[in-house]
């Protein structure tokens, strides 16, 4: 619900932006200070940044974006700059739409811009294409609430069987086989899904359909494909539903798992619990999506990996930026903000506030190079 009220608030803010942005255009006295911001912190060269920087997109990265905008604006203010950065969690689709119509200067999205959108982006991006950067890596935990059970080992087939409704009791042999030390009760399994459309659902079902295609036949989907069953609205709704029952199991952003038990998932021969490192490792172990520009960094997540210490159920949220900004004040602001996000410091802030996994150094520096290449003015 705060998503909805935020929307109204930032709509109002957008109205203000219009007026202020005009003023900002006139005073666009910018040097090439923006790229220096990568050296995270003290001398970010933020003093020159003024105006407004509106963004919108995926609600999955909302907690991280809130932390980023707040700390970044604090940094800018400390150096004497006057920049307002906002992020409106409208959802990925709406965010991309607003970005491509020029309503916002950057977008957060769970799915990278597709070919069509990239082609369309030249209209608002000063003749150049937009591009994506992975900025937010979040492990999705399989959470459960069973009285007297604290830990569970689950294979992808079992997880798929449970959520597809084929495995219906906790004392099922398929579950017991991997959990010799756990006393599993004779209890009905209640799978809990997201009732709203969600990137979390899409990533989770993508994982299921790739690792257990026989047990999960519904493919990767944003809307839960099976009618009926327990569900919750939003991550918090899902968590409270899992907490409210006995024998419930669900999937949610790991940072929101709270006191619930989380299952270890089989990868190769081992069972891996979620952790920030294991999630970041999953992104590192995955190849880049082919057929994209050098600066358009999109990860093709390898869900079926058997590598050690990798937790493959992750959600990667991207930042969509223009390759070129006509307004130099805004361009510098975008570069400074994006640099801050991919910096070690920015990623640390997200990890603390949103429980995400920091980008690896390699990925971070690649992203920084792409940001530096943005032309301004």
């Amino acid at each position: 619900m705060n998503v909805r009220s935020n929307k109204i608030a930032s709509l109002a803010a957008l109205g203000l932006v219009g007026g202020l942005a005009l003023t900002a255009c006139g005073g666009g006295s910018s040097s090439d200070s923006g790229s220096g911001a990568s050296d995270s912190g003290a001398n970010g060269g933020y003093a020159e940044l003024t105006g407004n920087l509106p963004g919108a997109g995926a609600s999955s990265a909302q907690a991280a974006q809130t932390a980023w905008t707040e700390t970044f604006m604090g940094l800018v203010q400390a150096e004497g700059g006057d920049l307002t950065v906002t992020y409106d969690p409208t959802g990925s689709g709406t965010g991309r739409e607003q970005f491509l119509t020029g309503q916002v200067q950057y977008a957060g999205t769970d799915a990278a811009l597709d070919e069509e959108e990239l082609a369309a982006s030249t209209e608002v991006c000063n003749g150049e294409q937009a591009f994506d950067l992975p900025v937010y890596i979040s492990p999705i935990a399989v959470v459960f609430n069973i009285e007297g059970v604290d830990s569970l080992n689950l294979t992808p087939e079992v997880v798929a069987g449970i959520f597809a409704g084929d495995i219906t009791n906790w004392n099922d042999e398929a579950i017991a086989a991997d959990n010799p030390d756990v006393e599993l009760p004779d209890l009905e399994i209640v799978p809990v899904h997201r009732s709203d459309d969600s990137g979390t659902t899409e990533n989770f079902t993508e994982y299921l359909s790739e690792t257990a295609p026989d047990a999960w036949t519904h493919g990767p989907v944003e809307t839960w494909p099976i009618s009926g069953g327990q569900s919750g609205d939003g991550t918090s709704g899902l968590i409270s539903t899992v907490e409210g029952g006995n024998g419930t199991i669900g999937y949610a952003d790991a940072s929101q798992a709270g006191n619930l038990g989380t299952a270890a998932i089989q990868v190769g021969e081992e069972f891996v619990s979620y952790s920030a490192e294991a999630a970041a490792a999953a992104v590192d172990a995955s190849p880049r999506e082919e057929g994209r520009e050098e600066n358009d960094i999109v990860v093709e997540l390898d869900r079926t990996t058997t590598e050690e210490g990798v937790y493959p159920i992750v959600l990667v949220s991207y930042l969509a930026l223009c390759g070129s900004y006509a307004d130099s004040a805004q361009g510098e602001a975008v570069k400074a903000y994006a640099s801050y996000i991919v910096s070690t410091e920015g990623q640390q802030v997200a990890a603390e506030n949103a429980g995400s996994a920091p980008l690896s150094e390699e990925l971070s520096s690649e992203a920084q190079a792409a940001i530096d290449a943005i032309s301004v003015g």
Partner: protein, 340 residues
């Protein structure tokens, strides 16, 4: 000296206002009131046009029209998408009214005819306060506090009325099924089911129905009541023979106001109900029902293009539904008005 000047001035300006300004004031007022009247029409028209206009892409892409108009592959069926939500919306609202109306009448009669005057004032104030609580708060209260408390009741209902008695086996269609189908089925905790949502809806519409009914009951002609008392009627008989017949159309109107709120209520349903799109009457089962408004709220964030259009189409359906129900209410009120 200056005070007399000021007084003179103000009196003269007042008289100017009275002389020359009267006409101006009148015409200003009539323009304002006509404008306000028109504004209502314009707003309603704007909403209707928006809904219709934005639904067009969904209509064109639907099974009902796409196959008909062109060779385009239909993406979805409007009827099979919308119908379960219409069913869910009406079922939830009907259950809420069934629970709220008797209680509301009880409270309204108590306030208007039974309670001591001071208590009645306090109680009336509390009812009005209940109407001012935002629906999000009701949703939180229902979802976090109420639902776990209801679990034993639901289990009891499900195990008793939900299984017994059953229709005799030789009855077609329902033979062997429980007579009270509402409580049948297989509920699982947490009880995020339609019954919970309806109970919270009932609490929400209670103040509206109570407040309007109370006002109507208070309008009962004193002479008629006293005449009934003089004829030896007890207080209950007075209520039965004078107050209720007099207030009947008002109560119907109050219920329709409540129904309107129950039909359109979004937040509380969204926060309590685990949705599903079926035509099940098993209100204790989870993941069977969903209301139109809650469905729009839960899906709109990630919807774009035709999906958004489809959601707006369901909004149009709700708009029309509310319209029809209001028309029926007006008809009932008008009819009973003629009778009395």
């Amino acid at each position: 000296m200056s005070t007399t000047d000021a007084a003179e001035e103000s009196s003269s300006s007042a008289s100017t206002l009275r002389r020359g300004g009267r006409r101006f004031g009148d015409s200003l007022f009539s323009v304002l009131s006509i404008g306000s009247g028109l504004l209502i029409f314009l707003t309603l028209a704007a909403v209707a046009i928006f809904l219709t206009n934005e639904s067009v892409p969904a209509l064109l892409a639907s099974e009902e029209l796409a196959g008909f108009l062109s060779n385009a592959e239909p993406d979805f069926s409007l009827i099979s998408y919308t119908a379960p939500y219409i069913f869910g919306t009406i079922l939830a609202a009907a259950l809420a009214l069934a629970m709220a109306i008797p209680v509301s009448l009880g409270i309204a009669l108590f306030i208007s005819h039974y309670a001591p005057r001071r208590m009645a004032a306090g109680l009336g104030y509390m009812i009005d306060l209940l109407a001012a609580v935002p629906s999000v708060v009701y949703g939180l209260w229902g979802g976090i506090w109420l639902v776990p408390k209801l679990e034993p009741l639901y289990t009891l209902l499900n195990e008793t009325l939900g299984t017994f008695p059953t229709w005799p086996g030789f009855v077609p269609w329902v033979g062997g099924e429980p007579v009270v189908a509402l409580f049948a089925g297989d509920p699982t905790a947490p009880m995020n089911n339609l019954a919970s949502a309806s109970i919270v809806l009932a609490v929400m519409v209670l103040p509206i129905i109570t407040a309007v009914s109370r006002e109507v009951f208070l309008q009962t002609p004193r002479l008629q009541e006293e005449a009934a008392l003089a004829l030896g009627a007890t207080r209950f008989e007075v209520v039965k023979t004078v107050v209720l017949p007099f207030g009947r159309s008002g109560v119907v109107a109050a219920s329709m106001l409540g129904l309107g709120r129950a039909l359109g209520e979004t937040m509380a349903v969204l926060m309590i109900l685990a949705p599903g799109a079926t035509f099940s009457f098993h209100i204790l089962e989870v993941g069977r029902h969903q209301s139109i408004a809650a469905n729009i709220a839960s899906r709109q964030a990630e919807a774009s293009g035709v999906d958004m259009s489809l959601l707006i189409f369901t909004g149009l359906v709700l708009f029309v539904l509310t319209f029809i129900i209001n028309a029926i209410a007006r008809w009932i009120v008008a009819r009973s008005g003629v009778k009395s």
